[in-house]
């Protein structure tokens, strides 16, 4: 197996773990944690492709990863702000309990 393939497998595994977490946990914060893991797996893919790609000096993959890190930080801030807001409104972060469209 080439090094790139093993990185890709690890990234795929991490992505699936994150997806499973996001889909199966009840707590909204845990869902966000799962999404963060998925984003990170994608970052690993980007960096691995950059490193073993044909033109590493162009920095495309690395730039993509850096921007993705910045975007993920924004996503986490807004997501957790939403969770806190929902908790204040509904007094729970259990997603199964939030089954109504009405506030």
């Amino acid at each position: 197996m080439t090094p790139l393939a093993s990185y890709l497998i690890v990234a795929a595994l991490l992505f699936s773990i994150g997806l499973a977490g996001a889909l199966t946990r009840r707590n909204a914060i845990l869902v966000l944690i799962g999404i963060e893991l998925m984003l990170n797996a994608a970052n690993l893919n980007l960096i691995a492709f950059w490193r073993y790609g044909p033109h590493p000096e162009a920095l495309t993959g690395m730039m993509f990863a850096i921007f993705s890190i910045a975007v993920a930080a924004a996503e986490a801030a807004v997501g957790l702000g939403l969770v806190i807001s929902i908790h204040r409104h509904a007094h729970t972060t259990d997603l199964d309990a939030m089954n109504r469209m009405k506030g």
Partner: protein, 166 residues
């Protein structure tokens, strides 16, 4: 592959698994930081120093702290009595397994065409800065705008009801 790769991979995957499986939410957040640290080590192994340090600074220094703050603010550290997994956890697990199967199959199918070991590129921070300021200046500005919007948005979303109650 070197031993270091397997060690880091084991650390990262174990951290990720613990983050989605543990009962206590704060433990999940701490396990998540282990996964983040493992990923940062991966970045260092892939000669992406800058991205690795940025990963530690942003994810461990900010996102993980944000997550634990959110957990404590929402009293999420108490384990709920009716289980931590949602009602349709089986469906979620099947979907995730399916996604992994597809991804893994795709990777294994393309092993033969994937490039082999290449020479390590030397990337200085100066090059990254130049790239950010020349070729990627538009995305940089957009990210700056997005971060500002996110900052204001997060503040407004989290503060809104308190202002209304006053």
């Amino acid at each position: 592959m070197s031993i270091a790769f397997y060690l880091i991979a084991a650390l990262t995957v174990a951290g990720g698994l613990a983050a989605v499986l543990l009962k206590n939410t704060v433990h999940c957040a701490l396990a998540l930081t282990v996964a983040f640290a493992g990923l940062a080590l991966f970045f260092l192994q892939l000669d992406a120093q800058f991205a690795g340090f940025a990963q530690i600074l942003v994810y461990i220094g900010a996102v993980a702290i944000l997550v634990v703050f959110a957990i404590l603010l929402t009293r999420g550290s108490e384990t709920p009595k009716d289980g931590v997994f949602s009602r349709n956890w089986l469906a979620g697990l099947v979907i995730a397994a399916g996604v992994f199967a597809v991804l893994g199959w795709a990777v294994l199918q393309s092993v033969s065409v994937l490039p082999h070991e290449t020479a390590a590129p030397t990337v200085t921070v100066l090059q990254i800065g130049n790239a950010l300021m020349r070729r990627y200046v538009l995305p940089l500005e957009i990210v700056a705008l997005l971060l500002t919007a996110a900052l204001i948005g997060a503040v407004i979303v989290a503060m809104h009801e308190k202002e209304g109650a006053r």
